[in-house]
């Protein structure tokens, strides 16, 4: 199981209606590919974040499938068009079944 997983998000707090804003996320995670072997020649089991979803007021902004060759501490940056105030919700899904969540409010004028 992945230890010490911390998710971080940076999204603007304010925007004007119709603006396209940039959202950045980072999660600390080993992203063990399942292709490596340890010193004894045994395969180190795969342990990755396999899916990431961002919604704004329950509408999907991005829904991403992550693959084993993505490096440790995946950093994702994307854009969202905002029309009204609300909340971004961010969800990361771990191979081990853990789900990590963050949110960030935005007020639109």
């Amino acid at each position: 199981m992945a230890e010490n997983v911390t998710a971080r998000v940076r999204a603007p707090r304010e925007a004007s209606a119709g603006e396209v804003v940039s959202v950045r996320t980072l999660i600390s995670h080993p992203m063990e590919s399942g292709m490596r072997r340890n010193g004894d020649g045994e395969v180190i089991p795969r342990s990755i974040i396999n899916r990431f979803v961002c919604t704004l007021n329950d509408e999907v902004v991005v829904d991403i499938t992550l693959e084993p060759s993505i490096s440790t501490n995946p950093y994702l940056q994307f854009e969202a068009k905002v029309t009204e105030s609300g909340t971004f919700n961010f969800t990361w899904y771990d191979d081990d079944g853990s789900v990590y969540e963050e949110s960030s409010d935005i007020s639109v004028s």
Binding site: N4, T6, R8, R10, R24, L26, S28, S71, T72, N73, Y75
Partner: protein, 285 residues
């Protein structure tokens, strides 16, 4: 020098082509972290380098635009994840008496540590690195029987935290007084050719900085950015571990992490950066 190593040396020399046409680094860029902390990435060399180099440069200057940008914003700097862990460790009870570092230190009292270490410790009559000082606190103040290893993950995290609170401070390690003898030893090592390739630190980092060596852009090998987050291994790297890598690359047996020789070399190399700013954790390739 036998024929084999001569050929190898020539190959290395040829690898150091002029960089201007292929380099993606913006060597004239300035570094301001978070729009707030103004870094000195180039400045006049300290007096003891007279005749050797006139300007000293942070390793940041030689990195690609993308790598440079990662260090300009804490959110983009993966090293900051380890700083957060280091800050947690700082506040975590450890050792026999259940004390944490924070029981005795406010982090705001440690902001000039990174800029002034390695430093002479009168009580132990030796030059100490930050890691040695932390281990001393663990064994002598906190009753820990097994202090953290110098190159352990916990040690890297806490030293990254200590560096981060000192960012922007001007590096100013003392080289006179009781530390001078150690400094002299460090300087001697810096100019000694090692390994089958018979290369000294100076051959690469003093005579050839700015040039290309294979796919890499040679810096002055400064340590103001340590611990560094390297994209190559996606984790923090300590100073002496980096020294070890560089010595190994000359195909030599290396000194150990924590050895007297590497402590002396760390003091000497730190003093070559007197005038630059503390950047740790920096981002390097």
């Amino acid at each position: 020098m036998n024929t084999k190593s001569k050929i190898a040396t020539i190959a290395v020399a040829l690898g150091m082509a002029a960089s201007s046409s292929i380099s993606h680094a913006d060597e004239d860029a300035d570094l301001v972290v978070n729009g707030e902390i103004e870094m000195v990435v180039r400045t006049a060399a300290p007096a003891h380098l007279e005749g050797a180099v006139s300007t000293i440069y942070s390793g940041w200057v030689f990195r690609s635009d993308e790598t440079q940008a990662m260090q300009a914003d804490d959110f983009d700097n993966p090293g900051m994840l380890f700083v957060e862990k280091g800050e947690q460790l700082f506040n975590t009870a450890m050792g026999a008496d259940g004390q944490s570092c924070a029981s005795c230190h406010q982090s705001s009292d440690l902001t000039n540590v990174r800029a002034t270490y390695p430093q002479w410790d009168a009580e132990h009559s030796e030059v100490q690195t930050v890691e040695m000082q932390v281990r001393e606190c663990q064994t002598e103040q906190m009753g820990m029987e097994e202090p953290w290893g110098i190159n352990s993950g916990d040690m890297l995290d806490i030293t990254a935290f200590i560096a981060s609170i000192g960012r922007g401070q001007i590096v100013d390690v003392a080289i006179d007084g009781p530390a001078h003898e150690t400094w002299e030893l460090g300087r001697e090592i810096y100019y000694t050719r090692f390994g089958q390739l018979e290369l000294s630190c100076a051959n690469c980092h003093e005579e050839n900085y700015g040039n290309r060596i294979r796919a890499d852009h040679l810096s002055q090998g400064q340590i103001n950015g340590f611990p560094t987050y390297r994209l190559k291994n996606a984790r923090l790297n300590g100073v002496q571990n980096r020294f070890r890598g560089c010595v190994r690359d000359t195909r030599a047996e290396t000194y150990g992490i924590g050895s007297d020789e590497f402590v002396a070399l760390e003091l000497y190399v730190a003093s070559r950066g007197n005038g630059l700013t503390v950047e740790g954790p920096s981002v390097r390739n």
